[in-house]
């Protein structure tokens, strides 16, 4: 049992980490492009999943519902850019953060007004049970849904990477991320880019929402996955996509290890703060996060 169990904890942890990273990804995209710490990401995850299920309930087939929801999220993203961010441009980081929290309330309210407060389940056709063959061969239990989620996350990240690397939009994005002023000066439509990024973040939220929803139901509690993403973010650095992936894996594995092997000594439940303690440790070593850009402070 010993080693098997260890492997189970490790792999399980890593896979949970992927789930965290999925949420953190949305934060990074927006922060990178517009310097906004978008606390509403959690609400967006909830809203996206809820809308998707809602449309299915209205009788839309899976793919149609998916497309429509993507449409919704894109609209939401653009609306946010137009009505929240654009008027607040050049405001301090905190002000922007606070605005996104206000946005959180709005999204939560709209979601519950439009779709009601009922709890729904989301079936992606993959059962959340251990991979049979793995269980038979090694006795190690790994949920196939988690594996599926990991694969999806991988594809998502790969697509984004491609988007950034190969397309003009991507190049523009990177330019914006590097230096807003410069980007403007070479004629990149900043506002359009921001809207685009918010739209992409919305889609990322949808993916995260669907996977989380399939795992633990589509319901208000999905809002709180944002909290799981925060330590991941500071370890990975607000501006680094590979950063959050790695950090997600680290946090996932570490927190499970801690909860299973150390937790019992303190009566358990240390998962609530352990990732943050871990994050602080990382920060003390690298204040700008694992992959974040080094902060150079000239005199």
């Amino acid at each position: 049992m010993g080693f098997q169990f260890f492997m189970e904890v490790l792999i399980g942890g890593l896979l949970s980490g992927v789930m965290y990273a999925l949420v953190a990804l949305g934060f990074v995209l927006i922060y990178k492009a517009s310097g906004v710490f978008n606390f509403a990401q959690g609400a967006m995850v909830f809203f996206a999943a809820l809308s998707f299920v809602g449309f299915m309930e209205l009788g839309l087939p899976f793919w149609a519902a998916l497309l429509v929801t993507i449409g919704v999220m894109v609209l939401l993203g653009m609306a946010t850019e137009r009505f929240v961010l654009r008027p607040l441009v050049n405001q301090s980081e905190i002000t922007l953060l606070m605005a996104t929290i206000g946005l959180t309330f709005v999204i939560e309210g709209v979601a519950q007004l439009v779709w009601g407060v009922g709890v729904r389940r989301l079936d992606l056709g993959i059962k959340d049970v251990p991979l049979p063959w793995l269980a038979d061969k090694t006795g190690i239990f790994i949920s196939q849904l988690d594996v599926f989620a990991a694969v999806v996350a991988g594809i998502l990240v790969a697509t984004l990477a491609l988007l950034f690397a190969k397309t003009d939009i991507g190049r523009a994005l990177r330019a914006v991320a590097d230096d807003h002023a410069a980007a403007l000066s070479i004629g990149i439509p900043l506002k359009r880019i921001w809207a685009l990024v918010w739209a992409i973040a919305g889609i990322v939220a949808l993916v995260a929402g669907m996977l989380w929803g399939a795992r633990s139901g589509v319901q208000f509690a999905l809002v709180f996955v944002a909290l799981k993403a925060l330590p991941v973010l500071i370890i990975g650095g607000f501006t680094s996509v590979p950063g959050v992936i790695v950090a997600g894996l680290i946090v996932g594995a570490a927190e499970k290890m801690a909860e299973v092997y150390v937790g019992p000594k303190f009566g358990g439940g240390i998962e609530s703060w352990f990732p943050y303690a871990l994050a602080i440790l990382f920060l003390l070593i690298r204040p700008e996060g694992l992959f974040g850009e080094k902060i150079i402070r000239r005199v």
Partner: protein
């Protein structure tokens, strides 16, 4: 027309540095205090005292603490609810375990406990800044609540894992009636607010703001960054701690650790952003906005739509309106209510002559 500084000259630095250089302001402040201490207890209904004014004062105090740290010293922190919890549980235990412990002493001690904890969790601020620090301080938030929840000793092994505040007695008089509670809280808050104002306008405040605005320059001028930052954390946490103790003793009565959630921390940060970063007044205005606006909305909606519309709808709409108002407000006046007030005053000075 009467709001003028004409004929009021400052002949000494002391006069120049007083809180209200204008006589009119001084009079207004006195009137306000008189009203708060005498008129309100006499005429305000129990509902106003027990449900609105007492919590408002308490949260103003906490917001003040947050403002010292974030507004003046520029350290973005999300641990305030945690520090409140420390204060609440410390006060309970002092009252419980030291017999004959005077309430006010317990209050101060609990503030000191919070200050100590605050300093400990402020240490990362020496190396981490901005949003990174904010998220890092969440560690305080979660760890404190976890610890208080986990170890039964803090709750005197209460099987339900809650503490029940002891009656507040000062010199034999027990502050039990809403009026008495209100006056006690008001006195404490007013006193601490004055101290905060003194620090803010004195050398202490200058070093905080220096660290906030340009820490390298501050250091080059010989300011000890570490001491200044930790001092800010300590004082801020002291205010939060006292606020937390009052929250438990003068407001909720019976509390469980999980009453001090991260959501509360966010709301407190909200209060200072909406109210005005780096202003004493802003803390009070912001607390009013964040605390009372949702209540106002729900009262309004129930009054208007009452039983006619499904309450689920009104509740959701309340949420939407609240969120939108926050966004709109941040757009219209990103410097907070305090700035708004200042501007109106400036206008008043020149009125009726437009500048």
């Amino acid at each position: 027309m009467f709001y003028r500084e004409a004929g009021q000259f400052r002949t000494s630095y002391a006069q120049d540095t007083q809180i209200f250089p204008l006589r009119q302001d001084r009079l207004a402040m006195m009137a306000l205090l008189a009203a708060a201490f005498i008129a309100v207890p006499l005429f305000a209904s129990d509902y106003w005292l027990r449900a609105l004014l007492i919590p408002w004062l308490i949260f103003s105090l906490v917001a003040l603490g947050q403002n010292i740290l974030t507004g003046y010293a520029g350290q973005l922190s999300l641990g305030s609810a945690g520090f409140m919890a420390v204060g609440a549980f410390a006060c309970y235990n002092f009252m419980l375990r030291v017999d004959g412990m005077p309430f006010l002493v317990a209050l101060v001690l609990s503030g000191l406990c919070a200050a100590a904890v605050g300093m400990a969790f402020g240490l990362p601020s020496l190396r981490i800044r901005g949003l990174y620090l904010a998220v890092a301080t969440l560690a305080a938030q979660f760890f404190i609540v976890w610890a208080l929840d986990k170890f039964a000793w803090f709750k005197n092994n209460d099987p339900s894992g809650v503490i029940t505040a002891q009656p507040m007695k000062i010199l034999g008089y027990s502050f039990a009636s809403p009026q008495a509670k209100y006056i006690l809280v008001l006195a404490i808050v007013a006193g601490l607010a004055l101290l905060a104002k003194n620090m803010a306008r004195g050398a202490t405040g200058r070093s905080w703001m220096a660290v906030r605005d340009m820490d390298v320059a501050a250091e080059v001028m010989g300011l000890p960054l570490m001491r200044t930052k930790l001092q800010a954390f300590a004082i801020s946490s002291f205010y939060c701690g006292v606020g937390g103790a009052l929250f438990a003793f003068a407001y909720l009565g019976t509390v469980e650790p999980s009453a001090f959630t991260i959501d509360l921390s966010f709301r407190i940060l909200f209060m200072i952003i909406i109210g005005g970063v780096g202003t004493i007044l802003g803390s009070f205005l912001g607390a009013a906005f964040i605390l009372l606006l949702p209540i106002l909305l729900s009262v309004l909606f129930h009054a208007v739509f009452g039983k006619i519309v499904d309450a689920s709808v009104t509740s959701s709409v309340e949420l939407i309106v609240f969120g939108s108002l926050i966004i709109v407000f941040l757009i219209v006046e990103p410097h907070g209510l305090a700035r708004l007030w200042q501007v109106t005053k400036e206008r008043l000075r020149l009125w009726p002559f437009p500048h």
